[in-house]
Symmetry: C2
Subunit: 179 residues, 2 copies
DNA sequence: TGGCATATACCGTCCAGACGGTACAGTACC
DNA sequence: GGTACTGTACCGTCTGGACGGTATATGCCA
């Protein structure tokens, strides 16, 4: 994860760390300010409300996720399932959406105000469309993508389906299905 | 979902409904009491603390999930991947863990106090062990089970990967992989 | 049979603390 | 002197939880 540059980014980064390390309940404006190294007034200058802050977190999540999708798409060889393969690569990226930090944005949004998830839902549909468009068997692609969602699910809950070694096997297994 | 009988169950049921319908943030002792048709004092008689209430919700989730696993296991024909097939059937059961109501227990626990997820983590490992034990290719089973987790993930977030028709196709596709 | 103690289930009130948000007075750089 | 940003002091509200009280049922003993 690249180091945050602007104060705004620093606050978002701090908020994500709080959720990851201490749980959503501990995400308060005061705490976010303290972790970002400024006062509550400072935070409220950048984000008018707490919902606003979470909107920022969600936006960061979506942007970083989408840009990773594109990066991996460019690197993947042409052919069927190219987008699906990019999704798998993204999901296993240590700085990707399955990192504790980014996933925390989802957690924060659902917990505080379910409406804040809307942008994710919208983007999700766009991703699905993209994947379906270049997948010969949409069911096959959907299965693998659902499994990636399961991966996020496990990350958020701290569930361990497999150790690091099996994770690599899993990734290879998935990519193998997308040829 | 069977109608709650004891007051205790009624409270847990009410709490789950609140999380599902209004979001975790609205889950307060007062609100749970009101929805269950008694006073806050009454709720606190059955659950000493709010964490206790959530522990009850998580326990209900685990029990109902495990009992569904067993039900479907009994109904599935013998052979390889029998437990994995039971997991798929359970995941698609309208009253199963992917129902909004049960999933809300997870949400509540992570949001309020991440430690409360521990019982789920413990049970999860037992389920994994069971599935691996009768799966010729553990990667195949793991892929499908991860996809089921993805299904819960989508339920919680309100994401729509597929419509009802495609869901049925998906289920058939998964079960077909487990033969 | 009646009197009394104990347990269970539940109610209503009160309170300390935390939280989101406002107001405003700075400060530092351009 | 204006713009971008920070710090502090404060307010109203909400929430978890403590607590004392109440009604009913059950058990015990004479």
């Amino acid at each position: 994860m690249s180091a945050p540059t602007t104060t705004r980014d620093k606050i978002i980064d701090a908020a994500m760390s709080i959720v990851r390390d201490q749980g959503v309940a501990k995400l308060t404006l005061d705490e976010a300010a303290k972790c970002a190294g400024l006062s509550k007034g400072g935070v409220l200058y950048h984000f008018k409300t707490k919902d606003d802050l979470i909107r920022g977190m969600v936006e960061t999540l979506i942007n970083r996720c989408d840009s990773l999708h594109h990066d991996y798409y460019d690197r993947e060889p042409e052919g069927p399932y190219r987008w699906a393969r990019a999704v798998v690569q993204t999901g296993f990226d240590p700085n990707g959406p399955a990192s504790d930090k980014l996933a925390s944005a989802l957690l924060a949004s659902i917990a505080v105000n379910p409406e804040l998830v809307a942008p994710v839902q919208a983007q999700y549909e766009r991703w699905i469309a993209r994947i379906n468009a270049d997948s010969p068997n949409p069911l096959q692609a959907a299965l693998v993508c659902m499994a990636m969602d399961g991966h996020y699910f496990q990350t958020i809950l701290g569930l361990k389906l497999c150790d690091d070694e099996k994770r690599e096997q899993m990734k290879a297994f998935m990519l193998d299905l997308l040829k």
